[in-house]
Symmetry: C2
Subunit: 792 residues, 2 copies
């Protein structure tokens, strides 16, 4: 696993770098450094269009590549496609659905197991602590509590730091980038999956202020990716059927299914899961995919339901009640009128402001953290453990500040006060018949805390003082916990913060409105989510499915729309901020307006000249080119032949584009010709199959070519993609970017407006990085003025 | 309104038709004929790539055009864009949201008014009939019933036949085509809107087997289109701000908002509305649009809620209970277990088979109807009225076949039997204390019939005999009603059929399952919808929001997925069938596999040679070209100028593409030059603004050019789109189609692989019709073999 990010570090001299991917740099410089974070855009301000192949994946600096969604229409592909029988088409369709089913099934099972583990570990931990407190052995209780949390955090952090740095964090930004066309190495491997599962269990059980929702999305995607490639990198099943999925397009679809299954498993929200993938994660979407992701999430829901039925009979330890159905308020009758639109709007506005403030502050904290993390693995570990200890102290210590409150006589004695690990009115340090409202919120799992603060018809339960402490504490924890090296989701911290502020607002507005405080709490959580994550439809559906109450729909919609609008006035969404911070070259849907003022020809001018190959090329030159450039695609040019005459025109014409991986394959298989001649299709088919071409082959240094062979020839025609997408040099960058992004390209060839006799038929090649606004601006700073004038 | 489909009927000699739009044909041939329907593909089987500009829009044969989504990057546009201030950008954004708000508001209000009208008209009609029946004056009752229905149908049909033929039918296929890039004339005008509203009220009140759901989608889209263009065609507000919306891209977004508002208003399903637009209606989609449509549907829901609250106090005549909340089963506790998966799967399979059978039969019926309708307006009218009379006879007469059943004593006397217009146990012709179960289903509005058949905990209410009659009747009515010339939706007929079959299945399975019969009915309706319309996620959410019961979600999902899968084995969805039948050139998302075997160069070869214009062209030639061709875009070629030298290269190069509309504008404004020279940017800006270019100008025959002027010149450079998307001639048709469809083009220029000196820099132009599978197959019949071999 770990070495696969070395595969493009060919340690040569980076000569002409008109292509991002695999730029030769010294991998050993400091692979673990987070240096990306504090030079966020990785740009040297110079006059050439430069770009960096480095980005943060999880907590690891990796060399990123682009994905190839374009169908490589070369002779081999065409032959394979023509020879594909009806049976093979059926195999493909069957496997597509079988994989979607398996993704749902496995995600559902793993999600249940994670919930089971968390509920049991955290449950027994809390029971032991409660026992100490009942005996008034408070110090012992604290030591046990802090010790257990420390140990659990240690396990999670150790795994993440030493075995799979890509498993740290939520993973959603990386998945977003992957589905946008950026390969994120080690992101979807087996090690990452296992570390993510165990790390997530550890981190959530440790009571840290983070959720299992983000990690579940990542877990779903890992499962999808592993299934699609037939197992972990080193132990892949070479099943014939799976070869259909050995391409970036089908893998993208599978991972989309996986991410929506993950969201569905996190919130038990099948429609919400599909919409989340559609609205937030996926870049390319089509109706057929809607249906397939929906199938996956349906399977997840059935699995979760089956497990819950099974656990109801008490076979699952402390599970049973906890875990999945988090905030069911279907039993509550919700009443509101048109006038309630005012408090709802207020919630929305404040949520938007707080959300964007959270984004702003988290950005700053992550930059500071990157300085700490950069210093090495030990520092990463220490940071995580410090946060754990701080969390433990606050969670255990702060409830002592709250005064005991008598139970409402109308509530049955069995539910107030409670001493178990769950329940809404925790006795903690209070005498019988009284409860500690802050302990109810703090000395419990995060899921239970949310359930308690969402509880309806409990107007007098919480004191404003306790809520304020809770809110402030979770604001601090929410900011300091996210960046540590454990698997962490952003949903739950934001829900916790939002629910607290919502409930506080509800108390303040109490006399003027009929809306229940629990409902305010739900709306507060929704507004903060929208204010920070800027999703609308998917959040709305997730909240709908979480609260299980359709009457909430109109006001939830209103809150979400207002919060998002307000938030958008200040800064981009938290995922966009993280993407930017990690240096992942995400390609936006819309070109910047000023990109109309520059043509692709001008972009090509500031890049090093393009390196082309001849249709029948000397082996020596191929080796040379591969060694001295880092490009991943080379235009293949041919001598023009007069149509109907057959004599050379004296000019060159573009035959197509050949990929580095395919050239390496040719060198490795030594498919060389003694003389300079065109080959027949069968000749190449004897040597390679289409399946071979789908693999990504290692690096040029692995290939040994003898001196004699250097003088031989290779016929590039059969392996050349004869129909690359091209643009004329006078096309504006804006329109070129629309084409690049809508069709999902990796290389875009620029052809001259008029080709003078004997001149090169290719002006240049553009890749993802060349079309990113930041990179263009660094080469053409004068464009910035028009940008500043116009705004975005 | 009516004359706007004449605008491209320039009645000249159609010389070279390499372009679909505005092909000159004799409009007066028979504008009302439905001849499209029985030569469905409008193809002459010849060796040139021909295509027809005719299609059925509503019930009218119209000349269709393509829409221009590409940004026309000519000098004027660039100048306008550069001079756009921050304030103007804000104006645009504000107006975008204001229009989305207004679309929601007006759709909500009109939907309420329609419901109000239908409930009252149908309600008073039914009350009068019930009065006659109580007095046992059965014949009088029938005459009143049939007479009222006849009159209401007559109103609807008269309006549709004589004033707005485009208002007939559901409108959804045409909207789908519009959003795919096919302009459907008169589809979104004010007359259409008014006729659709009144016609829909008439047709639904007349008790015909059709719904208001489809028409509401069309109404929403009409409102959106009218708002976007500032009013009806002849009385448009010339508000400066609205000029930003005078382009096909923004209009497309608005109409998407409108269609989702319509679905939302029909089912009170905001999320379902958005998803319906996403899954079924829209072709291009992006996250920003998701948010805006969601905003519109949120407004609709708020409006509907406000009206319902208002009507609760009894101010709305017979409204009050009826109308919107159709199938609320939130009060019912739904119980089911894993074993219930078997009956659910059975429902799904049967629903899929019945749904595809319905599609198949409806297709046949529509073809027969087209033969009748072709004969003229009177025949259309007679057909509608015959269906109305048949419906009246069945609805009134069939209940007499059912035997009276005694009321269950456990049901309070007030609700069994009932004599009013609503209620579940209609007394009809029965003695007191008994009810007629068939009258409960037939002698009521369609909405109430659905509510009654969905009713839960009424196991013994319906006799299997009555349900069978109901099912068979509605199968017949569902087939014969849809094609008549009134506004009609497909949702309700399918729901009625499906609910009947579901309930029958429920009765058959009764002993083996715990699922309630009402629930079976709901699932039956869902399965038939999925089997016929082939939607999944949106239907699921619509049913979720209709039934207001989240517990139904997993089994609804299962049923929908099974039904769709089964249905897809037999035929395409009903909307696709209708699109095909209407001859609308819908461009699918995916190219057919065999399209990889043909290049765009080969396609261009079977088309007439492309007509190019020079950069500075003689007026005479422009007039000539416009008169003798029907192309809407012409490549502009220039003499090549050596870079850095300035002397001509002797070759021509492609400057860009100029649109017919812009050429007409130049001729109309007489912007001619005495000598052959390049103009300055300010010269053209004195004559035209970007706003002028956005208008679509009439026809060439309206332009008078004197003989002297014919000898003058026009500088086409400033009005030429300098960055059209181009493909090289060796590109496969499949990849070209992906580009065409993903980027949303109207014209795609084919450039030669190698341009010989002095040769034309353009090989051809491809349009939407040239890339449609049927058209390609008609020119290259040998491709069909590979198609037959591979399947689809």
């Amino acid at each position: 696993m770990e070495d696969s990010n070395n595969q493009f570090a060919d340690a040569g001299a980076p000569a002409a770098t008109n292509d991002v991917e695999g730029q030769a740099q010294d991998e050993e410089r400091d692979p673990e450094s987070n240096s990306v974070l504090h030079q966020p855009l990785l740009l040297k301000r110079n006059t050439t269009l430069s770009s960096s192949p480095l980005a943060m994946v999880g907590a690891k600096v990796s060399y990123i590549e682009s994905l190839d969604y374009e169908i490589n229409e070369n002779d081999l592909f065409k032959h394979d496609w023509r020879s594909r029988s009806q049976v093979q088409v059926l195999q493909y369709v069957f496997l597509k659905w079988a994989l979607a089913f398996l993704v749902g099934l496995l995600t559902g099972i793993i999600a249940t197991l994670i919930n089971l583990a968390i509920e049991n570990i955290a449950g027994y931990k809390l029971l032991a602590v409660v026992n100490y407190i009942e005996k008034e052995r408070y110090l012992m209780g604290f030591l046990y509590f802090a010790g257990a949390n420390f140990f659990l955090t240690l396990v999670a952090a150790l795994l993440c730091v030493f075995f799979a740095p890509t498993a740290a964090g939520p993973g959603i930004p990386e998945i977003k980038a992957y589905l946008n066309g950026v390969d994120t190495p080690n992101m979807f491997g087996a090690t990452t999956l296992i570390v993510k599962i165990i790390g997530s269990i550890g981190a959530v059980s440790a009571g840290l202020d983070l959720g299992k929702e983000g990690p579940l999305v990542h877990i779903g995607s890992c499962i999808a990716s592993l299934l699609g490639q037939g197992g972990p990198d080193n132990y892949r099943i070479k099943w014939r059927w799976l070869r259909y999925f050995n391409n970036d397009r089908d893998r993208r679809d599978l991972i989309t299914c996986g991410s929506s299954s993950g969201v569905c498993a996190a919130f038990r929200s099948p429609v919400g899961g599909v919409l989340f993938a559609l609205e937030e994660v996926a870049t390319w979407w089509r109706s057929a995919l809607l249906w397939r992701t929906f199938f996956s999430t349906a399977v997840v829901v059935v699995v979760l339901r089956a497990f819950i039925e099974y656990c109801k009979s008490g076979n699952c330890g402390l599970f049973g009640q906890g875990g999945l159905i988090m905030f069911d308020v279907s039993g509550v009758s919700v009443r509101y009128h048109i006038v309630d639109i005012i408090p709802v709007a207020v919630i929305g506005v404040i949520g938007g402001i707080l959300g964007s403030l959270y984004n702003h502050l988290l950005h700053k904290v992550l930059r500071v953290y990157s300085l700490i993390n950069e210093k090495g693995k030990l520092h990463k570990l220490l940071l995580s453990l410090s946060v754990s200890i701080f969390t433990s102290i606050c969670l255990y210590g702060l409830p002592f500040l709250a005064s005991c409150r008598p139970c409402d006589p109308s509530i049955p004695e069995t539910s107030c006060p409670t001493t178990g690990r769950m329940g809404n009115f925790k006795q903690f340090n209070c005498p019988n018949g009284q409860y500690n409202d802050l302990a109810t919120l703090l000395l419990t799992t995060n899921d239970d805390a949310v359930r308690n603060i969402f509880s309806t018809n409990t107007v007098t339960e919480f004191h404003i003082f306790s809520l304020t402490i809770f809110f402030v504490l979770y604001c601090i924890l929410g900011l300091i916990t996210f960046g540590i090296a454990v698997p962490s989701g952003l949903f739950l911290p934001i829900i916790l913060m939002g629910s607290a502020y919502g409930r506080m607002l509800g108390m303040a507005m109490g006399p003027y409105t009929k809306i229940d405080q629990g409902l305010y709490s739900v709306l507060g959580a929704a507004s903060l989510m929208a204010g920070s994550m800027r999703m609308t439809v998917s959040l709305c559906v997730i909240f709908l499915e979480l609260t299980n109450n359709l009457l909430l729909l109109p006001i939830t919609m209103l809150v979400l729309l207002i919060s998002k609008t307000v938030g958008d006035c200040f800064n981009p969404s938290i995922y966009e901020i993280i993407l930017e911070l990690k240096g992942l070259p995400f390609l936006d849907a819309h070109p910047e307006p000023w990109m109309r003022n520059i043509t692709v020809g001008e972009l090509a001018d500031v890049k090093p000249p393009v390196v082309t190959l001849c249709g029948i090329e000397k082996v020596g030159r191929i080796v040379d080119v591969l060694k001295n450039t880092t490009h991943n695609g080379f235009p293949v040019v041919d001598e023009g032949i007069m149509p109907h005459v057959g004599s050379p025109t004296g000019a060159t014409e573009l035959h197509g584009l050949v990929l580095r991986a395919h050239l390496l394959l040719v060198l490795k298989r030594k498919w060389f010709l003694q003389e300079r001649r065109r080959t027949e299709e069968w000749e190449v088919r004897e040597k390679f199959t289409w399946v071979d071409l789908a693999e990504r082959w290692g690096k040029i240094d692995d290939v040994a070519v003898t001196k004699d062979e250097m003088e031989m020839y290779v016929d590039l025609h059969p392996i050349t993609n004869t129909t690359p997408y091209t643009v004329i040099e006078s096309m504006s960058a804006a329109k070129a970017m629309v084409l690049f992004r809508e069709v999902g390209l990796r290389h875009m060839i620029i052809i001259p407006k008029y080709q003078a006799s004997g001149a090169c038929p290719v002006v240049g090649i553009l890749t993802r990085q060349d079309l990113r606004a930041h990179n263009i601006l660094s080469a053409f700073p004068d464009l910035e003025k028009s940008k500043a004038k116009k705004g975005h």
